[in-house]
Amino acid sequence: MGLSARVRDEFPLLGQSAHGKPIVYLDSAATSQKPREVIDALVRYYEEYNANVHRGIYAIAEKATLAYEEARGKVAGFINARRPEEVVFTRGTTEAINLVAYAWGLHSLRAGDEIILTTMEHHSNLVPWQLIAGMTGARLKFWDFDGEGKISLEELDRLLTGRTRMVALAHQSNVLGTFNPVAEAARRARAAGALVLVDAAQSVPHMPVDVQQLGADFVAFSGHKMCGPTGIGALWARYEHLEALQPFHGGGEMIMLVELDRSTYKEPPWKFEAGTPNIAGAIVWGAAVDYLTRIGMEAIRAHEQQLTGYALVQLQEIKGLRIHGPKNPAERGGAIAFSMDGVHPHDIAQVLDQEGICVRAGHHCTQPLHRRLGVAATVRASLYLYNTADDIDALVRGLDKVLAYFAPSRRSGVGAEGRRGA
């Protein structure tokens, strides 16, 4: 199915076992595993040219600075930014969104201004706006999704007013898997005079994303969900916005001239990168971008779409299992959240863990979305380039065991027998 099975062998962790069973990793929406060459790049940086950037006059400092800025270029190229300077390195998606909320929102929003968010947003694209709304008197308005986990552009048209200043939405829901129509939403919102921020944490790792085609103002994403290390991510913004924005954090590296009572700042993106940055993180993220580019994002998307389709069919055959989100794999990514009648998500994840299967149980940082679905928690299995049909089959076998434990009467056969024998 899709990509070569050899891809899996490039990820050392996927050769590990848990509770005596080979690991089946189905939690890539939380964080992805790392291929050998990315891990090697991390070791190489620390062994061969670990030095601070933008200041040393010596050889390894120059090499580190060059590699850091090269990584910016790789990330910019990956999303087809107009220039590398449109990419600000951050700690991740969360910090990138906070950067916009504070550096733009805090200074620009006035009482009564409106921010439109969808009800499926991750807390990282909700809580910063709550904070800024509280400080400025701006108002949050919510763009709700339908029974299939989709949002409609007509609803956006209804919500947009002359007071709308920002529309912030996820490209792909981390729970429902839904692909939101961000390009068309951006067109409509910008026509109404609003800015548009896209949380692309779940899309940039999984499909080709072209920020020029998206047409948004800001795009936030993380390195660790795309085979890179934790603690590094980026804010992409149209360069004119970066020029207009106030600094977010103050400190070293982001300044030109500092006097006791005032300072002048560097040009973007460096204006937003105060303090020693995550040098290793950025460089190693660059290695991850090289890796993904070599495999090809089209090929990764095709693989995941095929595998998601297979998973949706297999899972829906399990009695009492309900999938939240679109059922058509062309309309969604590989983050698949589900509920099972009469079994709590933590119990499901616990039984799966004993089989070496890693899934996430809980609210996945989307409490309002879960409240909207009417469930306290869900189980989420999420796919990436290294997953195979075997992983889905292992999940289905694991869920049979769950049923055997918690609903012995519902299923006859191996599972129920196994339990009695245990």
């Binding site: 616990q350 004993q354 918690f406």
Partner: protein, 153 residues
């Protein structure tokens, strides 16, 4: 670490057939416990007569461990004095910390929850009911003390 240590038959039985489920109105003690991280929610209703728990009910939702622990707890505290209930809370919490109950303490079905200790992330599921009850008892005693102080003035 076997799953059967965690999901003992008696636990699954309490989960699928919870004892003392429901609400009491009025109740002398009404207390809620929640773990927002897992979405588990419990509410307990107690009536107290002659210093003893004369009636108890609970409602809520959550994982098998939190629900079974709540169900077992209601069985164990029914008919106990508040002092005895407090002792049981301490015994249970100590059990979750790794101390086996003293032999002269009858903890009934609760022994089945000892297996939870091998699954550290689930301990908070088991203790949710007990922490809530402890809070309920404290509030009740507090109110009583307050009422007593008022009448004695």
């Amino acid at each position: 670490m076997a799953l059967d240590d965690l999901y003992r038959e008696v636990i699954l039985d309490h989960y699928s057939h919870p004892r003392n489920r429901g609400a009491l109105d009025p109740a002398d003690i009404k207390v809620e416990g929640a773990n927002p991280l897992c979405g588990d929610e419990l509410a307990f209703y107690l009536r107290v007569a002659d210093g003893r728990v004369s009636e108890v009910r609970f409602e809520g939702h959550g994982c098998s461990i939190s629900q079974a622990s709540a169900s077992m707890m209601t069985e164990q505290i029914l008919g106990k004095t508040l002092e005895e209930a407090r002792g049981l809370i301490e015994t249970f919490k100590a059990m979750m910390r790794g101390q086996d109950p003293r032999e002269d303490r009858d903890v009934g079905d609760l022994v089945a929850l000892q297996g939870v200790r091998k699954f550290p992330v689930r301990i908070k599921c088991a203790t949710l009911a007990w922490v809530a009850l402890q809070q309920g008892l404290e509030e009740y005693e507090g109110k009583k003390a307050e009422a007593k102080a008022t009448t004695e003035e």
